[in-house]
Point group: C2
Chain length 204, copies 2
Amino acid sequence: MNIDSFPSKLLDKAVNEFSKLPGIGKKTALRLVLHLLKQTNEEVYTFGNSIIELKEKVKHCKKCNNISDEDICNICSNKKRNQLIVCVVENIKDVMAIENTQQFKGLYHVLGGIISPMDGIGPSDLKIDSLINKVENDDISELILALSTTMEGDATNYYIFKKLKQYNIKISILARGVAFGDELQYADELTLGRSIINRTIYEQ
Amino acid sequence: MNIDSFPSKLLDKAVNEFSKLPGIGKKTALRLVLHLLKQTNEEVYTFGNSIIELKEKVKHCKKCNNISDEDICNICSNKKRNQLIVCVVENIKDVMAIENTQQFKGLYHVLGGIISPMDGIGPSDLKIDSLINKVENDDISELILALSTTMEGDATNYYIFKKLKQYNIKISILARGVAFGDELQYADELTLGRSIINRTIYEQ
């Protein structure tokens, strides 16, 4: 569908804005905009304003760099959480994924990315200095590196490890192995090999 | 991903708003919102405001019911177009699709829907009265019914035809036949049958 035949400049503009979103083409953008156009004025205002308000008011937690409504996020300010263990993650989605497991009760440190020379992202673009500061000044016993198991993740793990090995701190990474529901014949050799090396005692 | 672990009420609200859009789930909504959060304040403002402005300012053309920035849309107000032929379509997307063919130089009449008892849409929900008015009062020689070739489209065609047959006006529907690129063995019988009945003289 050719955008030139749009009967309204306002419609054209809104569709253009929506089609800038990742994975949204012109046709989908038009569908979304026409859907919104059918809603009440108030609903459309709430929609448009929710993203403007988020952008204007949202903060990054001063301790962990996670997205937050306050200066200190509700994880860092929760005194019931274990302040001695810090889980280093790439971004806020990873925080949410780990929180959903309900298996981690420590604090987080959000790097805001991962070392990726291909994308022009170096250590200085990430919150690594503040992580080193944290290790130097806070009372931390263990750092869990929970980055993606990709080349970039491995490089970032190695960089952080090198920077921190001088400190008296335990550094761990996530266990690698076959996922729940995997069929062994389809598991890749590296993962399967690692899951044999790191096998655990069978428990009921 | 569980929405309960959202660290920010503002983020939660924006994601909720985006996930109300058709075909956008919570995960996609989060991806879109986090993408927008990475843009500049101005870009986010332009995005949010484009849809609010559209909703506030957009009009429906008083003549054809198409979406328009002015009281009369740029198709109806174009004196170069053939004012004698009116193409009846379901919605604005169909106007754009036909405009893209560049084969039609008349005017449109947008019904704003199609008769569909299953969805509770009857003739009174559509701009059929204003179509009858138009036929009565304007100088129109031909009405092209360009509705979907579905049961609902056929029912709407029939309803309009019944209402207008008393007037001295030519009423036509779109030709049905095999589409360009179709392989005959996969064409349905109805369409293939119709394309034989309505065969046209071969021209170079």
